[in-house]
Symmetry: C2
Subunit: 107 residues, 2 copies
DNA sequence: GTCTATACATCGTTAGGCGATATATGGTTG
DNA sequence: CAACCATATATCGCCTAACGATGTATAGAC
């Protein structure tokens, strides 16, 4: 799972959000590091919906603009948890690897 | 950076290795989770070399088979450290998001 | 009146992973 | 001794996903 996809799911773990709000939330969560543009966002949401990781919760019109709210599913939470576990392992491996390298250069 | 690329760098952080050994080491480091096949491996090594994240250290012939050893560069270590930082953040965000979700379902 | 934020849609390009295939050596196993 | 498997690198083509660009539309700010 790519970072954009992961942050979309993470953004939805708190509460259902509409597309545009998801992109903003992802930016906040990552402290500006992850910028999800329209091209990435709607493609990813379609894909995630196809995979059953998110579902459309409801739609509403605010100020003449339509908002389509997405909600994360149980499968979506599981997928996120698995990705989380993979990243934890990768972090541990990377820390050990870099630590070993630094030790190697000193000795 | 995709997992395959990350694990290739991590495999080289300890010591220079030849291609085939990198693939094996990546499998060991990830406890079998990351399987780097030939198609992924040599393409990734070419890319990493183009980007200056690894360099060819030396070559040798063992049992009639050529071994091309790659070494990670300072840039490669920096790239790895950055990826590590990104993943740490992503893990923290994911943990907070899932925690918040579980709390939400209980209340 | 123009600019910016909001909100969704779609196209084309690019990067990267991955299976498949190829080539070659040498040890193992039947 | 033949078939198979591990070692070792190379290359092709497919597919997924990200992403920039572009388009449409509304509404408020300046």
């Amino acid at each position: 799972m790519r970072p954009a996809t992961y942050y979309i799911l993470a953004s939805l773990a708190g509460e259902p959000l509409h597309g545009y709000a998801i992109a903003q939330r992802a930016g906040e969560l990552s402290d500006g590091a992850v910028k999800i543009t329209a091209g990435t966002l709607y493609g990813a949401l379609d894909r995630l919906a196809d995979q059953g990781l998110v579902v459309v919760d409801h739609e509403e019109v605010v100020n003449g603009r339509n908002r389509r709210y997405y909600r994360i599913t149980d499968d979506g939470l599981h997928a996120m948890a698995e990705e989380l576990a993979s990243m934890r392992s990768a972090v541990a491996v990377g820390e050990a690897a870099i630590g070993q390298f630094k030790l190697g250069t000193v000795l």
